[in-house]
């Protein structure tokens, strides 16, 4: 890294964050990834590209999203002051669209005529299908059969938006397998296809690029909190859910060098890390290579990838973005896990107290806030990323609560 006293200058030119990241892809894809890197670096340096992204974020997505003081939850918890970054109010109901706007404009710039993407909860699939409708590009979404089953509303939404949803029947039939299938599609359709990855993982430059497009979240928080709390006030703690880690990276990145700001990433603990049925790659995994990058992975002794488990389809992935792996190892960020049960409780509390149905992903982050806030003084400011709305999850939640709807 050029400057050893900074956390935000990564990755290196070869896509490394410490030992993590990299470009572990088949030769067929290598020229495409190099081309993408070149195109992205050029776009990044081009102020007009930035302006165009900003224009769509403002007028189409509805940014900036509010920073909301949780006025009933805060006294309920009786400790720290809790703010929600309301990214669930974005068009399409989650943070995923921030990245999709950026990448679709890049794909257009590169002259690509067909878009593919993977999706877990369906939020990234919906966001991708949305921008493809807007920019009139054919769109194929790969989604595991298990996820299709538990995210029917999003499947229907994608179809309405004109996307083709391809069910993935291989492996564990969830997000990891959808990503394998998308990579197989890309290897096959190299000429015209742009692979719009939805998280801060995959081969370089995806982790950097997706992080950059999501950093609007943290940038806004910085400005908004100063307006609300005084000119030099930074948050004390940031909390975000981590599957691949795009909403967390987007919130954390602008604060990496504000070392007094605590960063907490919340992994999905499923039925508990000790049970083996979880998606906590940092807590329960070890470094390995999958989907183009080195990162922490759930795997057995022989390097075979294990199935992840989480009630939240969006967190159900056996890996994590390489920058998170790096922030974990160097200690800049702390990573904890929250179980399905804790997330469900947080979901219900937030719904009844604040009138906000959180997606099951940020419900994990909220469960961590519920744990720590009561122990902190009222002068302590926590900002939690409410990265998605829970409407898509009502069937899953109802089932978990034994209610049939």
């Amino acid at each position: 890294m050029k400057n050893l006293n900074t956390y935000n200058s990564g990755p290196e030119k070869d896509g490394r964050f410490g030992i993590f990241g990299g470009r572990f892809v088949a030769e067929t894809l290598m020229p495409l990834i190099l081309e993408l890197d070149e195109a992205y670096q050029a776009a990044k340096a081009d102020p007009s590209f930035d302006l165009e992204v900003g224009r769509y974020l403002k007028h189409y997505v509805g940014r900036p999203s509010p920073l909301y003081f949780a006025e009933r939850l805060t006294p309920h918890l009786g400790g720290a002051k809790v703010y929600f970054k309301r990214d669930e109010l974005n068009h399409t109901g989650a943070h995923k669209i921030n990245n999709c706007i950026g990448q679709i404009l890049l794909a257009k710039k590169m002259g690509k005529t067909r878009i593919i993407a993977e999706t877990g909860a369906g939020q990234h699939g919906v966001a991708t299908a949305t921008v493809c409708a807007l920019f009139d590009l054919p769109c194929v979404i790969y989604m595991g059969e298990v996820d299709i089953e538990r995210q029917q509303p999003n499947v229907f939404r994608m179809k309405m938006l004109g996307a083709e949803v391809r069910a993935v029947a291989s492996g564990s039939r969830t997000l990891k397998d959808a990503m394998n299938e998308a990579l197989r599609d890309w290897v096959t359709n190299v000429e015209n296809t742009y692979y719009l990855i939805g998280t801060v993982a995959g081969p370089h430059p995806y982790p950097e690029m997706v992080r950059d497009f999501q950093s609007v979240i943290g940038e806004e928080v910085k400005g908004q909190l100063k307006d609300l709390e005084g000119s030099d006030r930074l948050p004390d703690t940031l909390v975000a859910a981590v599957g691949g880690g795009s909403n967390a990276m987007g919130l954390f990145y602008p604060f990496l060098d504000d070392i007094n700001v605590d960063l907490i990433g919340v992994e999905a603990g499923g039925k508990g890390v000790a049970s083996g049925k979880h998606a906590a790659s940092l807590e329960g995994g070890r470094p390995g290579i999958l989907h183009g990058n080195r990162t922490y992975l759930l795997q057995n002794q022989d390097g075979q990838i294990l199935d992840a488990h989480s009630i939240s389809a969006g967190l159900d992935y056996p890996g994590i973005g390489p920058e998170h792996a790096w922030l974990h190892d160097n200690g800049r960020a702390e990573y904890v896990s929250i179980t399905d049960e804790e997330a469900l409780e947080a979901f219900q509390l937030c719904s009844s107290l604040e009138g906000i149905l959180p997606a099951l992903e940020p419900a994990h982050a909220l469960a961590q806030v519920i744990k720590i806030a009561p122990k902190l003084p009222s002068s302590h400011i926590i900002v939690m990323n409410m990265c998605g709305r829970g409407d898509k999850d009502i069937y899953t939640v109802a089932e978990a609560l034994g209610v049939s709807i």
Partner: protein, 281 residues
């Protein structure tokens, strides 16, 4: 590579032999442990006898992102049967008790090797009688990971060249490639489309002036006729998915998958061996 290691370089000797016999070779791919360890060993041991010139032994992985359904399924069958890296290496060791000439290339993905430990893997692979490696998700940009240590340990690192490898990139790909070059004849995953003869011929014409390495061609070769067509121009034809599919098919109908696999290889070999009779290169 030093002169002493070249003397016992099974890959170089095999391609020399093929040149002397003026024919293209047959490279067969099977997944180690498919359909189970014992039968996989018997298939491997039987391959040279039915005309396989080189053996690619797949190291099974749960997430083979460059492979089609046939090879994915074979890896899962092997893993379900308890195949590990240790048992894959012991297959090679056992094979070497009977065959000291046929080159064996391990093919797969990096994570199982990384989990085993690169240094320990190279030492054990070399000791077992492995001649080379093809690791799909290690492009030249990641050579420091395994390629350089492998070459230092005297294990060949065979690289894939694809239709997307253009003239400006080719030198990067060729730089640390040894043993032979594997031309992936289609953009796609294993066992799907098949390249036309003209496409294969064109690719070889493009590659030959840049390298003295033998060139094997694979991906999408399914029949003895197709193998023969490729072996007419290339130094070897690789058959993987179609062979693995014979094993799966035989398992489905309760047949003898060892015999089914070896009979198919015999047909492939007849095709390859007849390819250049009358049509000298």
């Amino acid at each position: 590579m030093s002169d002493s290691s070249l003397r016992d370089d099974r890959l170089a000797s095999r391609f020399d032999l093929l040149r002397r016999e003026s024919r293209g070779g047959l490279v067969t791919f099977i997944t180690a442990g498919d359909p189970d360890f014992a039968r996989s060993c018997r298939i491997m041991k039987g391959l040279p006898g039915v005309g396989a010139d080189l053996i690619e032994l797949g190291m099974p992985f749960t997430d083979p992102m460059a492979d089609g359904p046939s090879i994915q399924a074979s890896a899962l069958r092997a893993l379900k049967g308890g195949q590990t890296m240790v048992s894959t290496l012991s297959m090679v060791e056992e094979f070497r008790t009977e065959d000291m000439e046929t080159p064996v290339i391990l093919m797969g993905y990096y994570n199982p090797i990384y989990a085993y430990g690169v240094a320990r893997f190279l030492e054990d692979a070399k000791a077992s009688g492995v001649d080379g490696l093809i690791v799909v998700d290690l492009p030249p940009e990641e050579d420091a990971e395994l390629c350089m240590p492998a070459l230092e340990a005297g294990v060949h690192f065979v690289r894939l060249v694809t239709p997307t490898t253009n003239a400006s990139r080719l030198p990067t790909v060729l730089k640390n490639t040894t043993g032979f070059l594997y031309y992936v004849s289609i953009t796609g995953i294993t066992g799907t489309g098949t390249a036309s003869n003209d496409e294969v011929k064109g690719a070889l014409q493009f590659l030959r002036p840049h390298t003295d390495l033998p060139i094997a061609v694979g991906f999408g070769i399914k029949t003895p006729e197709q193998a023969a067509d490729v072996a007419r121009y290339a130094d070897a034809a690789v058959v993987g998915s179609a062979l693995v599919e014979k094993i799966a098919e035989s398992e489905r109908i309760g047949g003898d998958s060892v015999e089914a696999a070896l009979m198919f290889v015999k047909d492939l070999s007849s095709g390859v061996r007849a390819a250049r009779s009358g049509a000298k290169r």
